[in-house]
């Protein structure tokens, strides 16, 4: 190595080449993981969706017939409508509660760090664990929620929350808003804290009220963060599965089956792998569209 008499340029070029090789080697495990367990399944899924893939045996290409079947699959169509409805119900409350919480805890005042931690706890514990707890507490007669509400006369003490579509959706929506608004708070708070304090100085000198400053200054400056928190929450809601699987299992009937649950049932209960893959492709496209549309919508005016 040292014996090679090379010009400085040649040496640095060689080093750059070696550096490049080292860099590629360093990132290759990550690329391998993503290729094998994310990109390949995605492509494989598209491929399967064009076949009548059985659990065992050979398969044939069936073109777009799985997609054609989707258009007539009432359970899947119903699950899309239901999931959109659920998403529509929870999105605005999550945002508003999250925003209010963020505005409350964003300044470094006495106790605000502790409050942030405590408000964020339901998100950390996870919706799965909390859904199990909710199942117990929503039982007629014995559940705490049901008991408390019946004592103040809102419901009868035998209300079976999880076997009526409307009641189940209400209960799950409230649970999700409670679970998720701490996360929205964290995102929005990070955005609020990145706004320089000087922005508020002149407004304060002009005697602007809190509400005016919030509306005229904070919200416009926060637009990208608001877009981000809405996208994350809408996509998350559209991919809902756990809370419905645990609390209603799609029932009564199939009235609370979400899109992901519909895919899960088609693949792992009906073993129709081709159809389930077609559903998944639709899901990827819909999620991509939601992200795209919301970005465009929120960035339309300004920047």
């Amino acid at each position: 190595m040292t014996a090679i008499p090379a010009s400085p340029q040649a040496r640095s070029a060689a080093r750059r080449r070696r550096d490049g090789r080292t860099g590629l080697i360093l990132v290759s495990p990550a690329l391998l993981f993503v290729a094998v367990f994310a990109l390949f399944p995605l492509g494989f899924g598209v491929y399967i969706s064009l076949t009548n893939w059985p659990l065992v045996g050979s398969y044939q290409f069936t073109g777009l017939s799985n997609y054609d079947a989707l258009l007539h699959n009432s359970e899947f169509l119903q699950s899309i409508v239901f999931t959109l409805k659920y998403t529509g119900i929870v999105t605005i409350p999550i945002f508003l509660v999250g925003y209010a919480l963020a505005a409350f805890v964003r300044a470094n005042r006495r106790g605000s760090a502790v409050f942030r931690t405590l408000i964020f706890l339901p998100y950390i514990v996870g919706l799965v664990t909390e859904s199990y707890m909710a199942v117990v507490e929503l039982q007629p007669t014995s559940g705490s929620v049901n008991y408390a509400l019946s004592r103040i006369g809102l419901v009868s003490d035998t209300t079976a929350w999880l076997v009526h579509t409307g009641l189940a959706l209400t209960a799950i929506s409230i649970l999700v808003v409670w679970f998720y608004s701490g996360f929205a708070m964290m995102l929005l708070m990070a955005g609020m804290q990145s706004i320089p304090a000087e922005m508020y100085e002149s407004a304060r000198v002009d005697g602007a009220s809190w509400w005016t400053m919030e509306r005229r200054l904070t919200v416009p400056l926060l637009r990208r963060w608001i877009a981000l928190s809405l996208i994350v929450s809408v996509v998350g809601s559209f991919l809902a599965f756990n809370q419905f699987f645990i609390m209603t299992d799609g029932g009564p009937g199939t009235s609370t089956v979400t899109v992901v649950m519909s895919i899960y049932n088609t693949a792992f209960a009906s073993f129709d792998v081709g159809l389930a893959s077609a559903m998944s492709v639709v899901l990827v496209i819909v999620v991509g569209l939601i992200t795209f549309v919301q970005f465009r919508f929120l960035q339309r005016d300004g920047d």
Partner: protein, 319 residues
């Protein structure tokens, strides 16, 4: 709450920007009289009191339900499943935990499964993300942009949407019904945020330090292990913490890729308890299991939240 970092301020994305302080006292107030200043301080004190009172009330909304479930899990099964007016409502016992962790339900095995998967995922994610972050952060190479984009693409793919093909693929690789297979799957979907966090950690390392190590003849490996490691440790903590919490609470993937009861992770095992697969439905056991699932999250988060919030913000900025 023990060990809450009182001084902890989540780092905003723009680290240098001061946080917006709505209640900040105006500077350059000039010649206030002593009385006015005292009155001002009194008002500020009252505002602080109100802030704390409101904060406690709001926090209670988010924490009390969880504490209530801890209390409920300590009730005898008969009290959990009957009207709260029943006798024995305040009689506390560890009976649910004892039943759950012994005998036929044997949730302990599922807790161990969950721990294995979560720790393995945290380790794998950290190692792969450290290497990739080092490569993306400190080396120039052809295709780096595309490669980085590919890793982030995994973030755009909802894992719920590749469940079916992934099931077939894992089956083919003999990784179905396999805790390692589950950990590989979790690692993949934790990598985007991990690689992003680690790359930023390495980019922030002073360039002179890397050059100095090179001049001293340090190899790539020695530079990473001796020179850079202490500097990127916070990033590693963030990556590992995310991966651990994700795996510990994940449900759908474990439900789909594990069919053998003895391999179930805790969240999936609890669905058996919920539906009474082991006999009569027992809500006391379900609550005890849920509390067992909750405790590690709370402990790990409260201890390491500084790192969690860092990751949350940088992960969000990526979007």
């Amino acid at each position: 709450m023990p060990a809450v970092h009182r001084d902890q301020r989540p780092r905003a994305g723009v680290a240098s920007a001061p946080p917006a302080r709505i209640a900040a006292p105006a500077r350059n107030v000039g010649n206030r009289s002593a009385a006015a200043s005292r009155a001002h301080r009194g008002a500020a004190g009252r505002a602080t009191v109100w802030f704390v009172v409101a904060g406690v009330a709001i926090s209670a909304v988010f924490v009390l339900p969880l504490l209530w479930e801890v209390f409920r899990s300590l009730q005898p099964e008969s009290a959990v499943s009957s009207a709260p007016s029943a006798r024995g409502f305040t009689h506390l016992t560890l009976a649910n935990y004892r039943t759950l962790l012994s005998g036929q339900d044997d949730i302990l095995r599922n807790v161990v499964n969950s721990l294995i998967v979560a720790v393995l995922t945290a380790l794998l994610t950290s190692v792969v993300a450290i290497l990739a972050g080092y490569g993306f952060g400190l080396f120039r190479f052809r295709g780096a942009g595309i490669a980085f984009g590919l890793v982030l693409v995994a973030f755009m793919i909802p894992f719920q949407a590749v469940l079916t093909p992934l099931f077939l693929e894992l089956h083919f690789l003999h990784l179905l019904n396999n805790l390692i297979g589950l950990a590989l799957f979790y690692t993949t979907f934790n990598l985007p945020i991990g690689v992003y966090v680690m790359r930023n950690s390495f980019v922030q390392v002073p360039r002179e330090l890397v050059d100095a190590a090179r001049v001293d003849g340090a190899t790539v490996r020695v530079t990473l292990l001796r020179v850079l490691r202490p500097l990127v440790l916070p990033g590693i903590a963030t990556t590992a913490l995310y991966a651990f919490l994700f795996s510990w609470t994940e449900f759908l993937g474990a439900l789909s890729f594990l069919t053998n009861d003895s391999l179930f992770t805790l969240p999936v095992a609890l669905s058996n308890v919920e539906t009474g697969t082991y006999g009569a439905v027992n809500y006391g056991l379900l609550l005890a299991g849920a509390v067992i699932a909750m405790v590690p999250c709370v402990v790990v988060y409260v201890g390491l939240q500084r790192y969690y919030v860092r990751g949350l913000v940088s992960g969000a900025l990526k979007g």
